[in-house]
Symmetry: C2
Subunit: 339 residues, 2 copies
DNA sequence: TTAGATACAGAAAACGTTTTCGAAAGTATT
DNA sequence: AATACTTTCGAAAACGTTTTCTGTATCTAA
């Protein structure tokens, strides 16, 4: 069963393809009678315009490209869910590709997306992407919106989580629970979110007049469970005193819990622990981990909305715009004893 | 900066677009001299054929469609990673869509994929999809390969995990540890994998001459943590005796652990627990969960390979083929006491 | 009645490729 | 020298749309 084409419908009604096209696309110069007749058979025969013919003619593909670092990161998956959701709603297809945290890969995949004639591009850039010329260049070809992992050096629309506020809330919560020697396990130096979460940490200390102790500010290049564990292990070895840990990700926080448990340090009685991102793991680990929940799906949906807006309203002067989404602190056992 | 077209290259060399096209696509009837010259400027100007023009002319899109139930299921994400990987390797784009476990959604999204002119389709079907007419019909339009959640009623290539063998290995391991009263928490009746995992369970019992106790075979419609917990809770309430739990997913197994811990039943001393799929959570929960690891990425890669094979070698007579991938039992604390 | 407007429909071009077919020129064979 | 074959290339059609432009018929207003 071949696909229905304009010419098929045209023949049935003894009209030209022009007329059929115009009827289907809602142009004014076709009579009500012929329009309804055409629309009817069009529906009956399940007519759908050939995507390539239409794309060739209109230079639009109704497709957006999405580049994420790694689909296995659950936050990436959550955002993607929001993107798929919203894209479907607006009638856009989604072309997906991973950059796998490699700069070269990101650059190459970006070019492939452009070559694929997508109408717009959604990118979460790599942390190593200090060089963002390729992003700039891409944005000259088509609308580009950045999400989650962004760069402030790019004059584009950015959708992110308010990292600083999230971290501030978390650390404030610790302070209000009476904690004063709060460890912060940070990530890579040049990471946007790591930097801002550290700022939130510092902001909270400042507000409550707690002196900054640089010994408590740890840096772990990889924000994994084992690195988190190692970081706390080292601290314990040095016999540094602390009564709380704010981990920049759930993984490092979980690593911290493991290290503490191995040293028989009770959580949260002796040391409270908080993570960031409220992953599935937070409610699996015992004690359940207090964590800063990020609205991933909303981020995805918003990114699509802004992108489609730019697709529909091409602008020459780009006004860099950063939308920050609020986080929610999920308080659980690891930071809260009812006593 | 506009994109380079065939005509641009043609003008530079004073030849026709036909010749340029043929040079680029490796046809024989173009002299070595002109070919190298054309190829050179083609590279210099970063020529890439317009996807729509090419698609319109050749009826190929170099794109495969992927339909998964839910990207938030980590096994779905893992498979997708394999798919993206392999697709990139073979030069195919990936169009992604979720069916969100709804039959109507699956049907609709399937149609959209066909309308999008993808060259082939990769589907993990919903468990409610008893009606698979839409899959059959789709497979008359284009190559379709099913993975993970499949249906044996469809004469297509299926890529799955050897659920029965995985379950058999898990239960055999329990038996070899001296367990005899083994609970099996199953999923929905009409689920392919649930059924086969149950078969593996039964096969192991039979091999070791352990009588089947139907009281120990639980069915939970939703394979979630809370349902797993509830199932074991009910069993404990009825005071049914058992010394091991084989959960059909990691989630129900984790639910089982929670129920046992709430009732102060030690794991694995009193009751051993095993899950299925070896998710991230398995190494987060204490005790670490023994689980059947499924080769998700390999599944994705294989699915792509078979699909592309069918795309390149269209066949009229479909030979239904089912490829089963072997699982690996990851033995951890929840089923293994060194004593 | 006529001039001008309006409503409707089709012809044709265009989007950028690929591919078929034939032409031209060169080479080999008789 | 005539024939046949080979090599190299281009003209043109085709893929299925959308859109512009033009034309005709009908309608309105004077």
């Amino acid at each position: 069963m071949k696909k229905t084409k304009l010419i098929d419908i045209a023949k049935i009604h003894g009209v030209s393809t022009s007329t059929v096209s115009k009827a289907i696309n809602g142009h004014s110069d076709v009579s009500a009678a012929t329009r309804t007749a055409i629309l009817e058979t069009s529906k009956k025969l399940h007519y759908v315009a050939n995507i390539h013919a239409k794309g060739l003619r209109t230079q639009k593909s109704s497709t957006i490209g999405v580049i994420i670092p790694n689909i296995l990161l659950s936050f990436n998956a959550t955002i993607l869910k929001g993107i798929l959701d919203s894209a479907k709603e607006f009638g856009y297809r989604v072309l997906l590709s991973e950059s796998e945290h490699y700069f070269e890969n990101e650059k190459e995949t970006l070019q492939k997306m452009i070559d694929s004639n997508v109408d717009g591009l959604l990118i979460s850039i790599n942390k190593e992407s200090k060089n963002i010329d390729h992003i700039i260049k891409a944005s000259e070809h088509l609308p580009v919106v950045l999400f989650d992992k962004i760069s402030e050096k790019v004059p584009l629309t950015n959708i992110i989580v308010d990292d600083q506020q999230g971290a501030f809330n978390a650390v404030e919560h610790l302070i209000l629970q009476g904690r004063k020697e709060i460890v912060c396990i940070c990530g890579a130096k040049n990471s946007y979110s790591s930097e801002h979460r550290l700022n939130g940490y510092l902001e909270a200390l400042e507000k409550y007049k707690i002196p900054i102790n640089s010994e408590l500010i740890l840096e772990s290049e990889q924000v994994t469970i084992s690195q988190g564990e190692l970081a706390i292990q080292r601290l314990l070895y040095k016999a540094t005193k602390f009564d709380a840990v704010f981990g920049i990700t759930d993984n490092v926080a979980i690593g911290a819990i493991k290290a503490l448990q191995k040293n028989k340090i009770s959580i949260p009685e002796k040391v409270s622990v908080i993570g960031f991102s409220d992953s599935d793991k937070a409610t699996i680990i015992v004690p359940n981990l207090t964590s800063v929940a990020q609205p991933g799906a909303s981020m995805g949906r918003l990114a699509v909305r802004y992108l489609i807006d730019e697709i529909n309203n091409p602008i020459n002067v780009r006004t860099p715009k950063t939308i920050e989404l609020k986080t929610v602190l999920k308080i659980r056992e690891s930071s809260f004893s009812s006593i």
